[in-house]
């Protein structure tokens, strides 16, 4: 008798737990998304440098050697989706002197490209430069390039 009662109690507990697991009490979905967590699942899959970009923000003239009057483009390819993610490009010269730093917050959906560019009307000093790309403040890719005196 005691064992029967125990089994019955156990069944009731299991049923309550099972019902609780399948219960949906709220719909917190937001427009255009199926999740609400905002979890970032975005990766930087490629960074390319060059002198020009196309309409798809891809580099159309890829190089790592520039002239003093070139505009320098960096095309950052990301894969994945997130409601909000921030890309940052930090450009530095030789011993670490900061040339420029800019960021862009995007809502990527699958594969996207984001381009950053810098120019200098008075001409770039010849030397070695570095571009560091950050995804949500984490360094994810570094590219080096050179400006050659003409």
């Amino acid at each position: 008798m005691h064992r029967q009662k125990l089994s019955l109690s156990l069944c009731v507990v299991l049923l309550v737990v099972a019902a609780g697991c399948g219960r949906k009490t709220d719909t917190g979905g937001t427009t255009g998304t199926t999740g609400t967590t905002g979890t970032t699942t975005v990766k930087v899959t490629d960074v390319k440098l060059g002198r020009a970009i196309g309409g798809d923000k891809a580099i159309s003239d890829s190089t790592d050697k520039f002239g003093p009057n070139d505009t320098i483009y960096a095309s950052v390819t990301t894969d994945g989706s997130a409601p909000s993610t921030t890309l940052r490009a930090k450009w530095t010269f030789e011993d670490g002197q900061t040339v420029d730093e800019s960021s862009r917050t995007i809502a990527p959906n699958n594969r996207e490209r984001t381009e950053f560019h810098i120019s200098k009307p008075n001409g770039w000093p010849a030397g070695k430069y570095k571009l560091e790309v950050f995804l949500n403040d984490q360094s994810v890719e570094t590219k080096t390039f050179e400006v050659q005196a003409r």
């Binding site: 979905g29 010269f93 040339v99 995007i106 984001t114 381009e115």
Partner: protein, 103 residues
């Protein structure tokens, strides 16, 4: 003065490059993130009358229910009244015109 001192002095005197006139910019194929919609006070005066609401970015049925009824758990009322255009209650789109049943 030793040779190392001379080298150090030479390094210290080397002028830093001037990047003050650098211009920068960016563009992307990605969408801009949706701006957060401020929590609006509950709408009053809807008792017994249905209303029409146009969905904006960042909305959810819970959020709209909270605004109209003061209770996010009443999202199902809006869902039931708009079953013809809402297939998935977790997914509504900016620009959708929803019927809001009266309280």
């Amino acid at each position: 003065m030793g040779i190392f001192d001379k080298l150090r002095k030479h390094d210290e005197e080397k002028p830093k490059a001037d990047f003050s006139d650098v211009q920068s910019g960016s563009s992307t194929t990605a969408a801009e993130p949706a701006r957060p919609v401020p929590d609006l006070p509950p709408v009053t005066g809807t008792t017994g009358q249905s209303d029409t609401y146009v969905v904006v970015a960042g909305d959810s049925l819970s959020k709209i229910a909270k605004r109209y009824y003061g209770d996010a758990n009443k999202w199902n009322r809006i869902y039931e009244a708009n079953r013809d255009q809402i297939k998935n209650p977790d997914l509504i789109h900016p620009g959708q015109r929803l019927t809001i049943p009266g309280a």
